[in-house]
Symmetry: C2
């Protein structure tokens, strides 16, 4: 076991360069922990000329990551190129086919092809490791796959996108609107120029699909994730939520249901007394609810060069130490093919904000529709009065089926006295 | 790898019985996750006749745990007897000597003999696993030893004793005094009849000594832990802390210092904005501050049959899967022998509550003593006035050395106008 673990790193962006820096800084520590050195023997990136502040003299350069994946004398292929398909996937498949373990931070690829890649890796007797793909520096994959391995998971959920959490936190702290805070986040580099991957919930959905597979021992099913982003969350809703004792967070949630698994990404009202409500700014957190260990909460940095490199190198340490654990906690051939539970059958409480004309009878019309659709009210808030003008009304319902709520909302939206499309945000109780 | 993993369980109290129940309930799931069944082949306990609600017909009974540890046909010895020495230690040593892996929940034994047991286990090529020894159902040992293996830990601290946290939480929520809440906790079964192990900080110190070893790769050094409990925390201090924006928590903390490691257990004021401040009741939490992953917070159930059994069986799953990881993250022979940093050289801020006679010049005397001992004040609080009578005064200092603070407090205590021994609680900033 004292032979070096020879690794090749494909992609030298923030994360790839961060990984090489970590390996250089911690070399001695890692050798003690692994019983052998971890040695970077090859790298590949698009632009060889760019100065990344790395000493690459002793390292073989590949222009083509697939050629590097096929090269001999490499034990582990580290993929930090990104993208669900294309070069990243081709290179990972080639690495596995040629008997190399793969360490990847690529949530999109895993969300879409995780089960197939796991099957290929396990058939070849190599490891497919992906701690960095979900929640950055938080060792949540290891926690679910190993630390909580004695448990059945009932529900797993979390704040998985730091950009969204930063925007929602700033909106609450400053009272400013979404578009304004997004523009600032872009200027500060916390949000991309094209922010849709983050703010439309797609990044969270990719991570959720991976979490779901490892938590429930099922095949990754990105197509089965219901996805909504945070564009519709207004400063007004954040203020009303606050008044009602809630915070608004973009959560990714997966829950085992009778028939399958419910996977959803959408803004949620979470009670202020819960740990997840206190996760602010760019931090991520994951909550795992299990039968024996009960509730565990994991909080930390979900992105950035250091935390992501920490996760990648943790996977390398595992491989260097000779760990052999099924990719998604059970062997790939035994992963359950769980059907996606439709949102129509989701059961939960709802926050509804209506913009109504302030005149007699409006509330009676709204509440009659709710009653007729089996939605019962827990509370109602109205702030300010201006007869003949529009005013906001907030309703909080008891638990009901989503299909009832949707039917009621369609009827409410059609009322003459309801001026704007209703705003609906699901409430998530611990 | 399809041969069953044969285990023997020594001790059938809450945790031992809970472990057998978990193994019975999750048998199929665990077999899928391990690729082989985990089979209980032997048990030992003091009273064979007691009904524990377990089916032990197919299991060999031993009266003597050491005899069981020496028995053939056992792969793993699970020790849940407890106690730092005596039968527990003898049996673990015997199990290791006869080539069996050991899974233990015994923090006292590990705190006092952890390094020696690790050396013995690694010399024999067997595993010594102890996830259940610290923070119950929170997989914190795995997180430090594997999940964060790419990092140097700067500081690790946590709420490691649910009884103390329950008492402090209830004191804050109800305004009641320590003795009163302790008596209630005893009646409810949350505190032992003899509560000193918990409330005097010894249990926390045992757990901290184990955390320190795995976080810093050093030999366990229980004697090097500075230990204070919560008996001196008053309802008045909790109220003042609240007013100043703090919660009072019993923390176990370990920090790498220039010369060695500082390990301390004592009540702390923690800012209300920090995750640790929101950990309430019987919950535990651990915060790990590292160089690359930055800050990670782990929260969950620190005790109870289910969470502790979850941790024990996670260790069994690791062994069944063939994991080989050094006991305290680096091989036992390479564990550093770090000297204990003395409390005198601790640097931090302090909360001081004085009971002084309400007359002119008192504050001037106190502040002069602080100045003369290089302690500078951040704020001062006085509530109520009653000339000639005693009143409480609260001082919050800037960072200073503990020896300065101690010298100043001795002089302040000697003032004629100071009616009671000063109350000092350290402030811990994130």
């Amino acid at each position: 076991m004292s032979e070096p673990l020879r690794i090749a790193v494909a992609g030298l962006g923030t994360v790839g360069a961060g990984t090489l820096k970590l390996l250089a800084v911690q070399g001695k520590l890692l050798e003690a922990r692994c019983g052998r050195p971890i040695r970077v023997v090859a790298v590949s990136a698009r632009d060889k000329g760019r100065d990344r502040g790395l000493d690459l003299k002793a390292v073989q350069w590949f222009d083509d990551p697939v050629a590097m994946a096929n090269a001999p004398n490499i034990d582990v292929f580290v993929e930090v190129i990104g993208g669900s398909d294309g070069a990243a996937k081709q290179a990972c498949e080639a690495a596995i086919a040629s008997g190399k373990s793969v360490v990847t931070a690529n949530k999109a690829m895993l969300a879409l092809h995780g089960a197939a890649l796991a099957e290929a890796a396990e058939a070849k007797g190599v490891t497919l490791a992906y701690e960095a793909a979900v929640a950055g520096g938080i060792p949540i994959i290891k926690a679910l796959r190993e630390g909580l391995a004695a448990n059945s998971v009932k529900r797993v959920y979390g704040i998985l996108n730091g950009t969204c959490n930063y925007i929602l936190t700033t909106m609450r702290q400053t009272g400013r609107d979404f578009a304004d805070v997004l523009a600032e986040a872009q200027a500060l580099g916390y949000a991309e120029a094209d922010p849709s991957f983050d703010i439309d919930g797609i990044d969270t959905a990719h991570k959720l699909a991976v979490l779901t597979a490892v938590a429930f021992g099922c095949r990754t099913n990105f197509a089965g994730v219901h996805v909504e982003g945070i564009r519709q969350v207004s400063a007004l809703d954040i203020r009303f939520a606050d008044e009602l004792g809630y915070r608004i967070k973009l959560l990714g949630l997966a829950r085992r249901t009778e028939k399958g698994v419910e996977q959803r990404v959408h803004p949620c009202l979470v009670p202020v007394g819960t740990p997840i409500a206190h996760v602010e700014g760019v931090f991520n957190a994951v909550v795992a609810e299990t039968d024996f260990a009960e509730t565990n909460v994991f909080e930390g940095r979900g992105a950035g060069a250091g935390p992501t490199a920490s996760a990648i190198v943790a996977d390398l340490v595992d491989i260097a130490r000779g760990a052999k654990v099924p990719t998604f906690a059970v062997p790939a051939g035994q992963l359950a093919d769980l059907p996606a539970s439709p949102m129509a059958s989701h059961v939960g409480a709802y926050y509804i904000r209506l913009t109504v004309v302030d005149k007699p009878g409006v509330i009676a019309d709204v509440t009659a529709i709710l009653r007729d659709n089996e939605v019962s009210l827990e509370s109602m808030l109205q702030r300010g009065r201006s007869p003949g003008e529009t005013v906001p009304i907030v309703l909080v319902t008891h638990e009901t089926r989503e299909e009832n709520m949707a039917r009621a909302l369609a009827k409410i939206a059609a009322l003459d006295t309801v001026a704007e499309p209703p705003c609906m945000i699901r409430i998530e109780e611990p």
